[in-house]
Amino acid sequence: MQSFLRKCAERLETGAPLNRQEALRIFVEADLLELGKLADGVRRRLHPEKIVTFVVDRNVNYTNVCVSRCRFCAFYRDEADADAYLLSQEEIYRKVEELVAQGGTQLLMQGGLHPQLGIEFFENLFRGIKGRFPEILNHSLSPTEISHVARISGLTIADALHRLKEAGLDSIPGGGAEILVDRVRAEISPDKIGWEEWSEVMREAARQGFPTTATMMFGSLERSEDIVEHLFRIREIQEQGGTFTAFIPWTYQPGNTELGGVAASGVEYLKVLALSRLVLCNIPNIQASWVTQGAKLAQVALYFGANDLGGTMLEENVVAAAGCSFRITREELIALIKGAGFAPAQRTTDYKIVQFY
């Protein structure tokens, strides 16, 4: 094992990619600190400047109505449920206004697969946002939503993306990826698009010049092999012209869900994070998830391959619905980056530095 790890370390040093077998062996057999040291080595090579970035953003969940009914989700409601909601445009503008007032640069708008909301709803909304807040970058609608909107509007993915772009959509978040292996998806989210359609939306978004991100939700029913497969599928999309700026692994939160079970532990999170850094040599940034892991572990994650702490998230509802409600202020975020020995910097969605602290 030691000589195998040494060989992998030498290869990674030169930027050579791991293959699936190597990645799986490292993931299953290496201990936490061995994995961490390999990932930290890659992080140092890709980000030698010792800067850790974050974006000031707000998650606006325009609706919780969703026809997908994923078994791991505590957020969705049926249209007829008492606590189903759809935000009005005015409510959304007010939320964006608060974001602007706090120096935010990114709006992350995601909701559910609402049966009534077609392309015109989003065109209208995005135009309204762009007109009022031209300085805000609109990073919205996961591939799952885009696919749904295209379908109920009778459009191809390409046409839907094109029209959304015209209306002011700037960038596409990588939600809904869960585990990009259909056997797992069939168990945790049977009515959600399969891995190939998720990929196709991201490929088309890249062709149209959208920056994108990729995520993975792990800790539900997947095996180690599925985690590895997910990472390689992301890497392969990127190789074929993908525009992923960042990869964000986070853990399934079992509270209030149909699927139930227990959350992945801190050690499991750090191992997956580190493996992501090792495999995804063609994706520049790896984000730590303080939303699911808390501030303390997110700080430690900076030694396990992460170089970005995601957003300050003035608002977050989806993870909170599953009983996980870590909150963090910008000041705390800055303090924890400094405390780990890095220089904190606020960035834009496309990773341009706004300011150092």
């Binding site: 600190l33 961490g36 040291k37 532990s265 808390g294 303390k296 430690v300 000041e331 924890l336 405390g339």
Partner: protein
């Protein structure tokens, strides 16, 4: 010239680290390398075994004549939220603990203005009356010193009298940080570090085992931490009475310190502190990752940084939670087993004296 290599060499050959070497490690940013070294030191003592126990905390009162600035638990007598458990309360909590399979009661409280030594002895007897098999770990050195002052008895007399009433061992609280300048800012009314060590030395001489703690992440420097650990290591050389070191990160919420400064140890500092404690305290067998204050996630990760003990089920923790600890108030055995197992370690249920409990 101290270097990471020279320290590695010492650790690998089982030689003791100096104070300046411990300081070097605290100042270093090589978190994972320090962790690996600490994991080596731990493995050579404990292998893959990680201890836990099934215990229950009982905080008999939050009324305290001291006003430590880092504490969110204390109340004045008569203040809203002030409480003193009755003997019946204590008994019923101990009974519940016994039913849930607890082997230990951890009982601490504040320095109550009105109770006398016999009152505390009655608390001990109330627990022991539930079951003599419940190990009673109770009263910090600060409380023991207070009992001596209110009773006019010597430390030794107090300790022996408590032993008579059922006290089995002492927790390690109240050590905070020994450095006098910081201590007077944090808790000027509390006994000095010298006195804390004196109480512990006497307790060890009376045949009690105890824990040792260090409260960090407030106003102290790295040198203060090393000086603190150094005093503990010296006393351990003399008595061998400490079972475990528990490094406690300061929790700022609802304390007087928080309004002064926005302070809180990060996970990196937590792990480094565990690791340096393991490396420097070569005469301590056990380094505890106290999940209540570290959070379950960091406590679990700490098992890869030299810790070999996760503490216990706790059930009803109050002191850390009043100050904003984000962990649950208690954990089940299954949750603890899962944390240890998914860290790749072997869980071992222990009793309060670190003997393995083989079957239940």
């Amino acid at each position: 010239m101290i270097s990471f290599d020279s320290i590695t060499d010492k650790v690998r050959t089982g030689r003791r680290l100096s104070d300046s070497e411990a300081l070097f490690l605290f100042e270093s940013e090589d978190l994972l390398e320090i962790g690996e070294l600490a994991a080596f030191a731990n493995a050579s003592k404990n292998g893959r075994r990680v201890y836990y126990n099934v215990n229950r905390h009982i905080n008999y009162s939050n009324i305290c004549v001291n006003h430590c600035r880092f504490c969110a638990f204390r109340r004045d007598a008569g203040e809203a939220g002030a409480y003193l458990l009755t003997l019946e309360d204590i008994r019923s909590r101990a009974e519940e603990a016994l039913r849930q399979g607890a082997t230990e009661i951890h009982m601490v409280g504040g320095l109550h203005p009105d109770l006398s030594l016999p009152c505390y002895e009655e608390m001990l007897r109330a627990v022991k009356a539930v079951s003599p098999r419940l190990h009673l770990k109770a009263f910090t050195a600060v409380e023991i010193d207070y009992f001596s002052r209110i009773s006019g008895l010597s430390l030794r007399e107090v300790l022996l009298s408590l032993k008579e009433s059922g006290l089995d061992s002492l927790p390690g609280g109240g050590a905070e940080i020994f450095a006098p300048a910081v201590r007077s800012e944090l808790c000027e009314e509390k006994i000095s570090g010298d006195r804390w060590l004196e109480v512990m030395e006497e307790a060890h001489r009376c045949g009690f085992r105890s824990n040792a703690t260090m409260l960090y992440g407030h106003l102290e420097s790295h040198s203060d931490r090393v000086a603190h650990l150094s005093r503990l290591r010296d006393l351990q050389d003399r008595t061998g009475g400490f079972q475990a070191l528990v490094a406690l990160p300061f929790q700022p919420l609802n304390t007087q310190l928080h309004s002064d400064r926005n302070l809180r140890a990060g996970g990196v500092d937590d792990l480094k502190t565990v690791a340096v404690s393991r490396l420097y305290l070569d005469n301590f067998n056990n380094i505890k990752a106290y999940w209540v204050l570290l959070g379950e996630k960091i406590a679990q990760v700490a098992l890869a940084f030299g810790a070999n003990d996760l503490d216990g089920t706790v059930v009803d923790e109050r002191i850390g939670h009043e100050a904003g600890a984000e962990s649950p108030r208690g954990m089940t055995r299954d949750e603890i087993l899962r944390l240890i197992g998914s860290a790749g370690k072997e869980p071992v249920e222990r009793d309060s004296l670190y003997q393995e409990i083989l079957s239940r």
